[in-house]
């Protein structure tokens, strides 16, 4: 870390949330899930950064906001390797490793256009049948939705 020119400088956060180890190509999805494009808080993000854990990563720092824990499982299915840190007075007060849940309610659309969840006012529900190469099975139409097909709904 001696060669400062190669190190990305992101200002330290006084209070807020840091989401690290997001796959680079999922950055805007996570921004979308958390509606970060709709809020007035100070947000810094970096993408296409080097990562030991995943190929290329992105990072988001949101000032003065504690990301709602109800969103953790939704973030997890797009960025299973992500880490969340809650910051208070420049200190990490809590670090959370995301856990891919066994089941998911809402948040993702069933990829089957003939599924009842795409025709009636029903919240999609899924069983997570593969937690590494995230794959969902719809509880209604029983068809598979793969990560490539994920389309988020709010």
């Amino acid at each position: 870390m001696t060669d400062n020119k190669t190190v990305l400088e992101v200002s330290a956060l006084e209070n807020g949330t840091v989401i690290d180890h997001i796959p680079a190509d999922r950055l805007f999805t996570i921004i979308n899930i958390l509606s970060l494009d709709k809020i007035k808080n100070r947000i810094t993000f970096g993408t296409n950064l080097e990562s030991k854990r995943i190929k290329t990563k992105a990072i988001i720092k949101v000032a003065d906001m504690e990301v709602d824990r109800n969103y953790l499982s939704r973030i997890a299915i797009f960025a299973p390797e992500a880490r969340l840190s809650y910051i208070k007075n420049f200190e990490v007060v809590e670090k959370i490793k995301l856990v891919v849940p066994d089941t998911i309610e809402g948040g993702v659309k069933c990829a089957n256009p003939m599924c009842v969840t795409n025709h009636e006012p029903v919240t999609p529900k899924f069983d997570v049948i593969d937690k590494t190469d995230i794959t969902l099975r719809c509880k209604y139409c029983e068809k598979i939705t793969t990560q490539k097909q994920f389309e988020i709904i709010k």
Binding site: C115, V116, H119, E120, C138, K139, Y140, C141
Partner: protein, 301 residues
């Protein structure tokens, strides 16, 4: 919430065996009036004459009354009523709902909304569990057991929902499978994975004549034209997987041929007279099986 039958996986092994037992009972006593004074609904958002008549025959034989519709055209559905509201309303009018819908997952959703049991009579390409149970009953009746049967499945193994549900159901009983299909209609990987996970043996071949020699059950399915973008290819495939009476010469004594019907050309009519042909009796078994399902869900037997 009352017990519904939406997917074959809603019934465990004991329940499947219970249905087999009840179906045998109704075959001997087809007119037992267990549903006297009950009203059952048959809601066919998508028409299916065969399935509807089979269910309505089963209800009538049990002494129940039927309300419902055979197509959604002239109902409140065509006025834009949601499925939710239709099911809520019919729940108030009936003791059990049999429904077929072209939307996949519609029956599962209905079972969450309804206060009475729901029997799925087909939801798009997804599930049709009463067909699976009548297939099982036909196997049990002709083979004397459901255990360790060698089943040869022929035709559209990719989209055929009866094929998928039947192999799910047989996973309780340790069957062995041979799959015969053209390349474009092979069994999807998720089902092969399912079979491996359950330690079930299977082979794939395109030689139907050879495969059936060792079969206990030959399960034929229809190859549907709409699955092919190339009509020439459809014609080639269709004629490659046709069962003719001459092919049955060297087959096992106990072999029975099943088909969910309607058949088009995949079973030549000269097979019909062969005692191994079982598809019409299979359809008859459907009524007893549906009597069994309904009386089980309503707790009257």
């Amino acid at each position: 919430m009352s017990k519904s039958l939406v997917s074959i996986s809603d019934f465990n092994k004991e329940e499947i065996l219970k249905i087999m037992e009840l179906a045998a009972h109704f075959e001997k006593n087809p007119g037992e009036q267990l549903l006297h004074g009950r009203v059952l609904a048959t809601l066919f958002f998508e028409p299916s004459t065969r399935t509807r008549l089979s269910f309505e025959s089963a209800i009538n034989r049990l002494g129940g009354r039927v309300i419902g519709f055979s197509e959604a055209g002239n109902t409140s559905v065509s006025k834009g009523e949601t499925l939710h509201d239709t099911i809520k309303m019919v729940s108030n009018y009936s003791d059990l709902i049999v429904m077929r819908h072209y939307i996949e997952g519609a029956a599962r959703y209905a079972s969450e909304v309804a206060s009475v049991p729901v029997v799925n009579a087909g939801d798009g390409s997804n599930q049709h569990p009463s067909q699976t149970l009548l297939d099982l009953y036909s196997i049990k009746k002709t083979q004397g057991t459901l255990d360790n049967i060698h089943v040869v499945m022929v035709g559209d193994l990719k989209y055929g929902r009866t094929v998928h549900s039947l192999l799910q159901a047989l996973s309780h009983f340790g069957a062995r499978f041979t799959f015969v299909s053209p390349d474009e209609l092979k069994l999807p990987d998720e089902y092969k994975l399912f079979l491996r996970l359950h330690g079930m043996e299977f082979t794939e071949t395109d030689d139907m004549g050879e495969a059936i020699k060792d079969a206990d059950i030959l399960y034929m399915t229809r190859v549907q034209r709409e699955r092919f973008s190339d009509l020439m290819e459809y014609e080639r495939v269709k004629s490659a997987y046709v069962l003719k009476n001459s092919m049955l010469a060297d087959t096992k004594e106990n072999l029975k041929i099943l088909h969910p019907l309607p058949r088009i050309t995949e079973i030549a009519t000269d097979v019909d007279e062969n005692p191994k042909a079982y598809y019409f009796e299979q359809a008859r078994n459907g009524v007893f099986t549906r009597q069994a399902i309904i009386s089980y869900l309503l707790g009257v037997k």
